[in-house]
């Protein structure tokens, strides 16, 4: 009949899993965050911005690739609220949107047992 008929605890866990499943919309928002920070080029941008504000050309120097590619990635990072930018003269200075960004990176590194 069911896969844990004799395992009371599993049934409780299964019930809780269903009851506490976040709304589809919230799942999508969280997924979008992780998707945004899951591409190597975008991750490198975040690692660069750990050091502070940088204009686009400096970011290009730090992460490699073309100006166009980096600019496309910056747009994604910005529209997903991971980084923010402010204009200063000819430059747009980018920085991390909030302290959670670095914290998430550090947790991922801890999970991988790598020091970054």
């Amino acid at each position: 009949m069911n896969c844990c008929a004799h395992e009371e605890e599993h049934c409780v866990v299964a019930r809780l899993a269903k009851e506490n499943m976040p709304a589809e919309e919230d799942v999508a928002r969280v997924a979008a965050i992780f998707k945004t920070i899951s591409e190597p080029c975008r991750l490198k941008i975040l690692f660069a911005l750990r050091q502070g504000e940088l204009c686009v050309l400096r970011i290009v120097e730090a992460v490699g690739g073309t100006q166009s590619a980096v600019s496309h990635q910056l747009r994604l990072l910005r529209s997903n609220g991971i980084v923010k930018g402010r204009r200063e003269g000819q430059n747009i200075l980018y920085s991390l949107a909030d302290e959670h960004v670095v914290a998430v990176l550090e947790l991922a590194c801890a999970h991988l047992h790598c020091k970054i």
Copy 2:
């Protein structure tokens, strides 16, 4: 000549960004982690497993979708070290690989100002 000739601090940041850029391989590993947890179906699996160990059919009930699709996603989660599974009779009981997983989810939610 360069975009921040008169902004000493930006030059320092730019230098640090280059010096402290993680190795390509480490960036790829971190990216793989985030990519793995960036799909709605896989995220739902993680939210379900917050409650404890669950067999595949229970996970399917909690997250929706077909058994096949969930099984494919579980394989990705497992091969990327996000969840682990142990056989108990006919069932494979899945659970989160370590405490970092929940911590990362909670940070993402904090970033989004949503309580999950």
